[in-house]
């Protein structure tokens, strides 16, 4: 199998789009992606090889909700669990990204190609989070609704977060990108690749089925999946595009201070001091650190989607490196 990564090549960048990049109003996804596409196009047009990954939080909730609301109403509609809902969002978002980036290339007269890779990611069956799920998904339910779902699906778990009951699933650490060869092959042939959407579809090796993969209802943290993607593709830069211009210390307070250029030890100390939002900025910083630690001449950048071209050129955002 001629799957090899080129040795003499331009710099390779993984760009991770946050959930907001894809629009908050879901029917606006295509129009939002069309707004974002020129920025992505400009960022790509820096003579780099680009891999795009993206979140799918609002989208996977929407698909789950659509099936969840319709299933009791119509016998032809099955309940669709997380792995399949995740697969649907990868192709739904991938289609819009392909079309919107394709449109910018068409206008800019570039003959690049964009491809979406439907991606499964292997996790460990003994990942501690599988025994202790904490990631909340889906709508808030009444106790009666949660009990009814538990009766139907004995493996579902729920927590009461004060506003009602929500289903919780595991958030295991990503171990291996199953479709890694597809991604690498397209990259090596100068494609812009969209992969690992929503953190990938989590699968484990099924001990009852000779170690074949089986999907599990879990959510892989998309920032960790992006880091694994960057590592596996031997990327030089990992860029998180989010809704703030910089990583900040004292975020939201009087002494808020944006970080421009920081070394790995500096930001490591700030992370350990609890400076970053537990579910928002901390996972990105942690993923950025791991990415840099795995090869010393790498840079991770966290910046704003609105400044995407400047972030990729290195004149905006927080740059993390040794």
């Amino acid at each position: 199998m001629p799957v090899t990564s080129k040795t003499d090549r331009p710099r390779r960048i993984v760009i991770s789009l946050g959930g907001l990049a894809l629009g908050d109003g879901l029917d606006r996804q295509l129009s939002r992606i069309r707004e974002v596409a020129p920025l992505l196009f400009e960022a790509i047009d820096t003579n780099a090889e680009v891999i795009i990954t993206h979140g799918n939080g609002p989208q996977v909730n929407m698909v789950q909700r659509a099936f969840g609301v319709a299933a009791p109403d119509d016998k032809d509609i099955p309940v669709i669990d997380l792995p399949e809902c995740g697969a649907m969002t990868q192709s739904y978002i991938g289609y819009h990204l392909q079309q919107a980036i394709g449109a910018e290339m068409h206008k800019g007269d570039k003959k690049w190609h964009v491809a979406t890779v439907i991606t499964q990611i292997e996790v460990e069956p003994d990942d501690p989070s599988l025994a202790n799920p904490t990631k909340q998904i889906g709508p808030h339910l009444t106790k009666a609704q949660a009990d009814a779902q538990s009766a139907q699906h004995p493996d579902f778990r729920f927590v009461d977060d004060g506003r009602g009951f929500r289903r919780v699933v595991a958030s295991p650490r990503p171990r291996r990108i199953v479709e890694f060869e597809s991604i690498l092959n397209l990259l090596d042939n100068d494609f812009i690749v969209i992969a690992c959407g929503g953190g990938g579809i989590p699968v484990i090796r099924d001990p009852d089925d000779k170690g074949c993969y089986v999907g599990i209802p879990a959510v892989i943290e998309k920032d960790y999946a992006a880091e694994l993607l960057g590592d596996d593709c031997n990327a030089d830069e990992l860029v998180f595009l989010t809704d703030v211009d910089n990583v900040c210390t004292g975020f939201g307070g009087k002494d808020e201070r944006p970080l421009g250029d920081v070394t790995v030890p500096e930001i490591h100390a700030l992370l350990d001091a609890g400076e970053f939002g537990k579910d928002t900025m901390a996972p990105k910083v942690r993923a950025a650190l791991r990415f840099c630690e795995n090869r010393p001449n790498r840079t991770a950048i966290i910046g704003s989607l609105d400044n995407a071209p400047e972030v990729v050129r290195g004149i905006s955002g927080t740059r993390i490196h040794y």
Partner: protein
């Protein structure tokens, strides 16, 4: 993109959407069951590209969004191009997993990739003026009228007393937008899943510099399979269905199964109306079109269970010059 130079025999296999079942559980079971037959086609001289229908799956997704968007303001209405895209990921994921499992068990180190595929159609395709492909659930007259008010582009027809159904165009596929992705993976010996459900139909938008835009339409998956075969210079097109062979006088006492047809014979039978309008005839027409593209090609229509035999010539109906 370099021109595809391949020595191995290239086979496009088109699976029917009905073969995939109605729920995720059924679907993964059925594709797991089909995986040995699909992989059985591959040998050192043969490589495969897989495409598939999505009729029941896209119907299910559309229906789920239609029902829940009317009851829950957080769920948007989802039109056909996006529902089609979702079905490609949903089916592609299961095919990847099932083929991967079979390869794992048989010690094969091949790779499978699904390509999310748009297919360009002509904006002035005649079928846009007179859409005839019914999609979605049966509606009452009131429901149909209410939907038509909400979106004036929706058209409905009354279906033999069973209610009203939305109809969309079924335009001819012209160009696979992602053909370079497909070719690239194929040339690097991947098993490629592409053009699911006939592809996501797009037209060039004259108001936006000729950029592509999705249109609510359904491309016949067998025609898309023929185009896929043409674009990747395939040698064989295998259209899998529920029956082992194409038949004339189907369902009658004098039914005769056909094992070998010339293109001219196939066309004559199709013109006679020997084949089911919405089922076998599109397959035969797609087979003819595929053969027309290069005279040394063979199209085969057969059953999923006997796919390896069909490719080796001991089952199915072969159509050729």
């Amino acid at each position: 993109m370099a021109e595809s130079i391949h020595k191995r025999r290239r086979v496009v296999i088109a699976l029917g959407g009905n073969a995939l079942g109605d729920t995720p559980k059924e679907q993964i079971e059925r594709v797991r069951a089909a995986a040995p037959a699909l992989l059985g086609v591959i040998d050192e001289d043969t490589e495969i590209i897989i495409t598939h229908g999505n009729g029941p799956q896209v119907g299910m997704i559309q229906k789920a969004f239609a029902i829940s968007s009317s009851k829950d303001e957080k769920v948007p209405v989802m039109d056909l191009p996006e529902c089609g895209a979702m079905s490609q990921g949903y089916i592609g994921y299961h095919l990847q997993q099932a083929l991967g499992a079979e390869m794992h068990k048989t010690g094969k180190g091949w790779h499978v990739a699904t390509v999310v595929t748009q297919i360009e159609v002509d904006a002035d395709d005649p079928s846009f003026r007179s859409p005839t492909k019914p999609i979605g659930p049966f509606l009452t007259k009131e429901q149909a009228e209410s939907q038509a008010r909400q979106d004036p582009t929706f058209k409905f027809v009354e279906d033999s007393g069973r209610g009203y159904r939305r109809v969309v165009a079924s335009p001819r596929p012209r160009r696979i937008v992602e053909s370079d992705s497909i070719l690239n993976l194929l040339d690097n010996e991947f098993i490629v899943v592409a053009c699911g459900g006939g592809g996501i139909p797009v037209v060039r938008d004259t108001d936006n510099f000729g950029c592509y835009r999705g249109v609510p339409a359904v491309i016949d998956k067998d025609m898309a399979g023929a185009l896929l075969g043409e674009d990747c210079d395939a040698d064989v097109l295998v259209l899998l269905t529920a029956v082992d062979r194409v038949a004339v006088n189907f369902g009658k006492k004098n039914q005769r199964d056909l094992s070998d047809l010339t293109v001219a014979q196939a066309r004559a039978y199709a013109d006679e109306g020997q084949f089911g309008k919405g089922s076998m005839e599109p397959k035969v027409r797609a087979a003819i079109r595929f053969c027309e593209g290069r005279p040394d090609r063979t199209a085969i229509i057969g059953s999923l269970e006997r796919a390896p035999e069909a490719v080796r010539g001991t089952s199915g109906t072969r159509i050729h010059y």
